[in-house]
Amino acid sequence: MNDANPTASASTASMWEYAPAPERTPLEIDDRYGLFINGEFRSPNSRRWFESLNPATGEVLSKVANANQQDVDDAVSAARQALPSWSRLSGQERAKYLFRIARRIQERARELSVLETMDGGKPIKESRDIDIPLAARHFFYHAGWADKLQWAFAGATPRPVGVCGQIIPWNFPLLMAAWKIAPALACGNTCVLKPAETTSLTALRLAEIFQEAGLPPGVVNIVTGAGKTGQLLAAHEDIDKLAFTGSTEVGKKIAEVAAVGDRRLTLELGGKSPHIIFADAALDQAVEGVVNGIWFNQGHVCCAGSRLLVEESIQDEMIRRLKHRLGSLRVGDPLDKNTDIGAINNPEQLDKIKGYVEAGQAEGAVLHEVTTQSLPKKGLWFRPCFLTGVQPSHVIARDEIFGPVLAMMTFRTPEEAIKRANNSPYGLAAGVWTDKGARIFEMAKRLQAGVIWCNTYNQFDAASPFGGVKESGFGREGGRHGLRAYVRI
């Protein structure tokens, strides 16, 4: 019999590679963007601007205004002035604005995705499939609540809190803006939002969408700038509520300066979330959970499953499977539709990640990474990796790295898994993989985390409350619980 099929082997490539598939949506980016105060864009009193870079190429995308004290004062006073009429508007009317904003985000989704990817470095498939649709979803969801608030809190008459200062991080720029703004507006509050220094551009597009939706001036104001601007906003005396999402380190400082007057505060901070895999788990599914848990968005995820706790008997099996799967991840141009891992958001973060991986190896951990693929010459890149031989006392097992770096440890009994998982100052999220139902409930009961995913990881929805315990912060965002921070009852 014929063993070969010569025609076939002669005419087909021995290696089948994916051709570059860049997203080519044309995008207009202005040379500079002012502050969004009282419904219009204006130059900052500071007369200072800073550059917003594309971390994948190092190119300057635009210049963004650097707000000073005067600018923050203007923004807060615009929000204060807008508050009475906005909060008196019926829930139904507020809902109409939120619906309009949500639909406009959907209509401009392509453009927003490309901009988010260029400004922040995340792969286009994530901004296209997750960030932007979920941002729209938060506005839709909260539009639904706007005229039903009295049913959200049984027996109470919820009233708005007032002017909300909101400071957001660079990992999910537009999505975090939506998380903050949508519930605030639904409940009748007005806002001053401070986007992260490196990722202001999509928030400023959102401001354009507010204009298109006819949102009354002053209801949302956006002040851009570095940490100093955030500090000014946090310390501002005329803010009724402050919401911060970011690192625990900065969160603690924010909590200090925010301790003025009758001020509400919610903090969504860092994490070192444990991801626990029992030997009876569906291992291929668990591997997908781990990939999604730590290599999603370059690991720039506050709830990243960065501590992998594997039952000792399956350690070798997991290492092999993880290595194999790691080999199929495509690192590179974030605008390429086939890219799985994009660019690291900023140079400081890249240095920090590198420092941690070196420290981990110095303490005796073994590094596993994909070495086959070459990284682009320009831009900020870090190969996704995991480390084995990690001890709970190692710095890479304790500190939040906020990069695509996974620390793998083992356990023998459920008791030990819980002990190791809870041995952390953080308590944002946790993951458990097992086919035994009773064990899932037992683990979920005893893990110290605000969010626990069972046989899945990194699932988000506007209806599901999100937030931490311990040094991962307090307050919830999303769902009915998320509304609580934006009402007085």
Binding site: N5, A19, A282, E288
Partner: protein
């Protein structure tokens, strides 16, 4: 998570050169199939011609032949006569296809006869009745006997995933089929395949079902270094769906399996859609259905 992962392969963007290469590759992997009660020698002869030379028009790069022609045992001699020496294999379904609801002696005789008549490859069905009843050993023993009976012809073991009920069962059946075949003797690349479906039952070769089987093949390779082949069959009608399958194979098993020796599509109408897309890429326009010969 399995379905989510399977869906992720459909979101890879396959364009330009990789699309052209992928379409050719997929074409070279087709087991061009006709399994009708009304199959005639004439129809099989046409199909064999199509298999050798799928497209009569001129393209910049020649179009490859398909991998094999798959027919009922009675028509194996007809196919053999046309295909002998062309490099296109003759495959035959046997062992009481499609239901497998016959005594073992009849199924074994069926398979052996197809090989005697000239089949290079036998597509057998497993005994789903026994599998679903939990008589795993019986299923396994039967696979062993069929492999011995058809040697040296290649064996493709049809699990009929649409009848197995859930993904766990598909995985268990895959492992069992591979173990059983391996226990008979060493397996060289391409000598044993696992195959999703007969094509007579829906759902057939869905992405998640195929992914479960690919994972079983991958784990067997990790454990033994032996490469088992994979054949999704049934329901893959469009070029795009074939490319999704290739992406899944590439990212689950690696480039070694992107080869007609280790990966096949059980299909008929897929062939012309692959050609249609291939011709469109070169001529920048779609051809009419009648521009392609029947498949």
């Amino acid at each position: 998570m399995l379905e989510q992962r399977a869906a992720s392969f459909t979101r890879r963007s396959i364009k330009t050169q990789s699309k052209a290469d992928g379409l050719r590759l997929a074409l070279s992997m087709v087991d061009l199939t006709t399994l009708e009660g009304a199959d005639s020698p004439e129809k099989v002869r046409s199909l064999c011609r199509k298999a050798i030379r799928p497209y009569e028009g001129d393209l910049d790069r020649p179009v490859p032949s398909v991998a094999a022609v798959c027919v009922y045992p009675n028509l194996v001699p007809v196919a053999k006569e046309v295909l002998d020496g062309t490099g296109v294999h003759v495959a035959s379904v046997a062992t009481g296809f499609p239901s497998g609801q016959y005594p073992l002696s009849v199924r074994l005789r069926d398979a052996a006869q197809a090989v005697e008549a000239g089949a290079d490859e036998i597509d057998m069905v497993i005994n789903r009745g026994a599998f679903l009843a939990g008589r795993d050993e019986e299923v396994s023993d039967e696979i062993k006997e069929v492999r011995s009976a058809v040697h040296p012809a290649h064996l493709k073991i049809i699990l009929e995933t649409g009848e197995l009920g859930n993904y766990d069962a598909i995985r268990r059946a895959s492992d069992m089929a591979i173990e059983a075949a391996a226990s008979v003797g060493p397996i060289r690349d391409g000598e044993v395949f696992i195959k999703t479906s007969t094509g007579k039952i829906a759902p057939a070769a869905t992405m998640p079902a195929v992914l479960v089987m690919l994972e079983a093949i991958r784990d067997h390779y990790f454990a033994t270094g032996v490469r088992i082949g994979m054949k999704p069959a049934g329901g893959i009608k469009k070029a795009k769906a074939a490319l999704h399958q290739l992406v899944m194979v590439k990212e689950t098993l690696g480039d070694d399996w992107l080869n007609p020796k280790l990966f096949r599509f059980g299909a008929s109408s897929l062939t012309n859609d692959l050609l249609r897309q291939l011709v469109r890429m070169e001529r920048k326009r779609y051809m009419a259905a009648h521009d392609f010969s029947e498949a």
